[in-house]
């Protein structure tokens, strides 16, 4: 049975592991840290917190899977309303560099009736092979038929890596495939790289509900699956000299468990993904009613506004305005951050910004590590002043 082990020779009793454990499973007694095994859920959050690397996980060595026969990087090419989803081009960019590192092929699988005419573009974006499936059963974008088709193809072709965009559809599709193939899936990766020694995919994402990053691997199962949020990776550039092949697959299973009755277009005026100027509100705005200051500033600057996760959790704003790992990733020219502390999950959503101006009354707030301009002060007061000044200049 795996369990956590603390090396008492290395342990100094500093208690940082105790502070890092969100489940109260570590206590410092007599200058040594001790694990209460019955409370430990093996989340491994303490391992990274120990400055002396005294904590390790004792686990039995599982059998290794024959990974030699798995070759190739696959990208799920999601389509949206007849066009490739922007995330597809981003994944192709990353997929291409991973395939080059591994010395293997990059395949983009694009099920659906509207994909064929994009084959050339997909190849120019880096794909060596385009896999199409234009069977009528896939006319509607539904998870189960797509998952069945892709699992089948992946099972036959055996790629070592499969990347899927973490769009609402992708987040529903990827785990269905992973469970069918009994393999590992890491969601919302912010970095992907190949370990030069082991050739394993290093999947990095913010973790432990806080300010730590975790790097994850899928050692003994294939394919290694990962999802990436739109806006996190840079899109591939098109190279008109690239050549590749197109393959067609069939899928004749009639699917009826889920029927799409109606599509209702949403009025989203919060198009954060394309905004050039964004004003973001964090917990530091104090109260819900202060959001209007953020809205007004965004309006005055011709931009849009967003919020961080705590404000959505509090019910002050809708999830459609959330900027961060589980919300929007934005790449504006300018982002003004008001009362945002800068949790790693939020920073993951603003990495593409050209200029970040952060306002926070805590001079140690992590947001400042990602900012170009740092304003230490009460964001509500500063917002009020800015609005007054802007109004005065307008008149």
């Amino acid at each position: 049975m795996p369990k956590l082990h603390i090396d008492s020779a290395l342990c100094s009793g500093c208690g940082l592991c105790q502070s890092a454990c969100a489940f109260g499973a570590i206590a410092v007694a007599g200058k040594r840290a001790v694990v209460a095994q019955s409370r430990c859920i093996l989340c491994q959050g303490c391992i990274g917190a120990c400055p002396r690397k005294a904590i390790a996980l004792e686990a039995e060595k599982p059998d290794s899977v024959d990974s030699v026969h798995h070759k190739g990087v696959w990208v799920f090419g999601e389509m949206k309303d007849g066009n490739p989803h922007p995330v597809t081009q981003e994944l192709l960019g990353k997929g291409r560099s991973l395939a080059d590192d591994l010395g293997c092929k990059l395949t983009v699988a694009v099920p659906g009736l509207d994909a064929a005419r994009y084959s050339k573009t997909l190849i120019q974006a880096g794909a060596d092979e385009v896999l199409l499936c234009e069977s009528p059963s896939l006319a509607q974008k539904l998870e189960e038929p797509f998952a069945e088709l892709l699992a089948r193809e992946i099972g036959e072709r055996r790629p070592e890596i499969v990347l899927i965009g973490a769009t609402p559809f992708g987040r529903s599709l990827a785990p269905r495939i992973a469970a069918k193939l009994n393999t590992g899936l890491t969601a919302d990766c912010t970095e992907l790289a190949v370990d030069p020694e082991t050739r394993l995919l290093l999947q990095t994402r913010p973790a432990f509900g806080g300010n730590l990053m975790a790097t994850i691997v899928t050692k003994n199962h294939r394919p290694q699956m990962a999802t990436v949020r739109p806006g996190v990776m840079a899109p591939a550039t098109l190279n008109s000299d690239r050549r590749g092949t197109v393959r067609h697959a069939e899928y004749d299973v009639a699917y009826s468990a889920v029927q799409l009755l109606q599509r209702i277009q949403e009025q989203t005026d919060s198009d954060l993904s394309a905004a050039q100027v964004v004003v973001c509100a964090g917990r530091g705005i104090g109260e819900k009613k202060n959001l209007r200051l953020v809205r007004q500033l965004a309006q005055a600057l011709g931009g849009t506004y967003g919020v961080t996760r705590p404000l959505v959790d509090l019910g002050w704003s809708d999830q459609s305005r959330q900027i961060g790992q589980t919300g929007w990733s934005v790449r504006p020219k300018l982002l003004i951050s008001c009362g945002v502390s800068g949790a790693v999950q939020h920073l993951a959503g603003i990495g593409g910004t050209e200029m970040v101006i952060a306002i926070n009354n805590n001079e140690n707030a992590p947001i400042f590590s990602a900012a170009h301009y740092r304003v230490v002060g009460d964001c509500v007061e500063i917002l009020e002043q800015m609005l007054l000044e802007l109004k005065a200049r307008h008149n």
Binding site: G286, K288, L388, E389
Partner: protein, 527 residues
């Protein structure tokens, strides 16, 4: 003194001319000192030129004490440092500047994290002990958590939990003040007491002040009206609740309390008001573990139900049970879970004894649920503000009309019957909520037009007289400020008002601080 410390009031200072009472004033100059030295320099300058000074914190007050009537605004929000920590006899004491914001303070205490830059070795040691010891909290919980500690001291702030923990006065162990002349005064609780009604103060500047305290008896109820005066009183209590008229607070020492292991909130819904009043009286007998007892009448329910439907900001409100006319919210503060459970079932029994049903309750035991009930409780005043703002568009002469009066325990039924009768007779729309545990209810009259407003104001005055007769207080927690000065007169009468003015004149002979607050300016500087 740096050049730009004292600024001329300009357009960008508009927000500093008003506070949460929705009144607006005027001023010629403003300053935002960051240190006591700067604050004293400003005060001295104003004192020399006999310029009136209005002291401001977060401007969250409801009685317009922070609204200037000319002169200089001394805004202390930039004096917001936490200066040190002390441990004594198992309790922790935090030294703060007046501009520290309550919500920030609560956050720091909960996360056990302070900015300790500049702290001395003793404080750092106490900080270490604080981080590893039992969880602490700062009990006073006024509704508006963006209030500053200085302001809270000035009006002796209270909240729902004052039922058990008392107003902020009981959590301040030391004050450092500056008198209008710039002379500092240090007061530690227990070290300086009056002899009957004579109080001797020794300032840091070497002056001795002999104060003759007013001769009135304060009501035995929850009270924030006028100066705190008692035989043999502690000097520090004179300045707490003095509404910014006696001196400027430059430092406070706050006592923290151990956080109860289990805080549960229970909303109990009743079909008739009589049931809830009897229920409240029964709950009062349950002793120490009751942290708060709050009340919401049918007028509040109407407001909330309407807003839940019409206003997206309130769509997150839980659905109030169909047949409920009013509710009593009881907060349990227990050390162990078993006690909380037993108390909970006892509340259920008490409810049934009054003809209620224990399935008509909402019990909050998790932070998420407590926050929801918190949101529910604060929705009432928010909805009232929105309503008045709306109606004011058509009738600019109206304003918020909320009472803040308390009466002794045995007058609860009497005072509620009076409110109900008078409001029915006058035909005024209203909502009543508040700290029923202390017989302290906010009766909010919702005027449609200027006529309603006038009738409402007259009722208010009539109630001030009746409440005084019952032995209660006209302002139980908001303070008198400027807008309730006339009611202070009703409560104490012209002779005692004169005594208060004389007391003020002894500490601020030039009458510089807080002009218009508590009472009108006396032409003679001293008597």
């Amino acid at each position: 003194m740096r050049q730009d410390l004292i600024q001329e009031v300009a357009d960008c200072h508009k927000i500093y001319l008003g506070d949460e009472s929705r009144r607006f004033g005027q001023a010629e100059s403003i300053s935002f000192p960051t240190t006591e030295g700067e604050m004293t320099a400003v005060l001295t300058r104003m004192w020399k030129s006999q310029t009136p000074v209005t002291i401001q914190g977060g401007r969250t007050g409801l009685a317009a004490a922070a609204v200037p009537q000319g002169g200089h605004i001394l805004n202390l929000t930039r004096m917001n440092g936490v200066l040190g920590l002390r441990e004594a006899e198992g309790r922790f004491f935090l030294r703060v500047q007046p501009g520290v914001v309550l919500s920030q303070l609560r956050d720091n205490i909960a996360r056990r994290t302070f900015d300790t830059k500049g702290w001395d070795a003793d404080s750092l040691y106490a900080y270490h002990r604080f981080q590893v010891g039992a969880e602490q909290f700062f009990p006073p919980d006024p509704t508006e958590a963006s209030a500053t500690l200085g302001g809270m001291a000035a009006c002796n702030a209270s909240g729902a939990r004052s039922y058990r923990y008392g107003p902020v006065r009981q959590h301040i162990t030391a004050l450092r003040l500056t008198l209008s002349s710039g002379d500092p005064l240090i007061l530690r609780r227990g070290e300086c007491r009056a002899k009957d009604r004579e109080l001797l103060l020794h300032t840091e500047g070497g002056n001795t002040l002999t104060l003759t305290l007013p001769t009135y008896q304060m009501p035995r109820t929850k009270n924030a009206s006028g100066y705190y005066i008692e035989d043999n009183m502690d000097a520090i209590d004179l300045f707490i609740g003095s509404d910014g008229t006696l001196g400027v607070v430059s430092e406070l020492e706050l006592a923290l309390s151990p956080l109860p292991g289990h805080i549960w909130g229970v909303s109990c819904f009743f079909a008739h008001e009589e049931q809830s009043l009897c229920f409240v009286e029964a709950v009062r007998s349950l002793g120490d573990a009751i942290g708060a007892i709050e009340y919401f009448n049918c007028g509040v329910f109407e407001l909330l139900r309407r807003n839940k439907e019409e206003n997206p900001a309130f769509s997150g409100l839980p659905d109030i049970p169909r047949n409920a006319d009013n509710a009593v919210y009881v907060e349990l503060h227990c050390t162990c879970r078993k006690d909380a459970e037993e108390l909970l079932y006892t509340l259920g029994q008490y409810m049934e004894a009054q003809g209620g049903h224990e399935e008509n309750t909402w019990v909050a035991r998790t932070q998420e649920d407590l926050d929801l009930l918190h949101f529910f409780r604060h929705a009432a005043p928010e909805c009232v503000n929105l309503l008045i703002d709306q109606r004011r568009k058509l009738h600019p002469g109206i304003a918020k009309l909320g009472t803040d009066m308390s009466v002794p325990d045995d007058c609860l039924h009497q005072v509620i019957a009076m409110y109900r009768r008078d409001l029915k007779e006058a035909g005024l729309e209203h909502a009543v909520w508040g700290h029923i545990g202390n017989n302290h209810l906010h009766v909010n009259i919702l005027p449609w037009n200027e006529d309603d407003f006038a009738v409402g104001k007259a009722l208010y005055r009539h109630w001030a007289e009746a409440v005084t007769e019952m032995g209660g207080a006209v302002s139980a927690e908001h303070g008198v400020g400027k807008i309730k000065a006339e009611y202070l007169d009703v409560m104490y009468g012209p002779m005692h008002i004169r005594e208060m003015q004389q007391l003020k004149a002894a500490l601020d002979p030039e009458w510089i601080l807080g002009q218009g607050t508590l009472f009108p300016v006396r032409k003679e500087a001293s008597v």
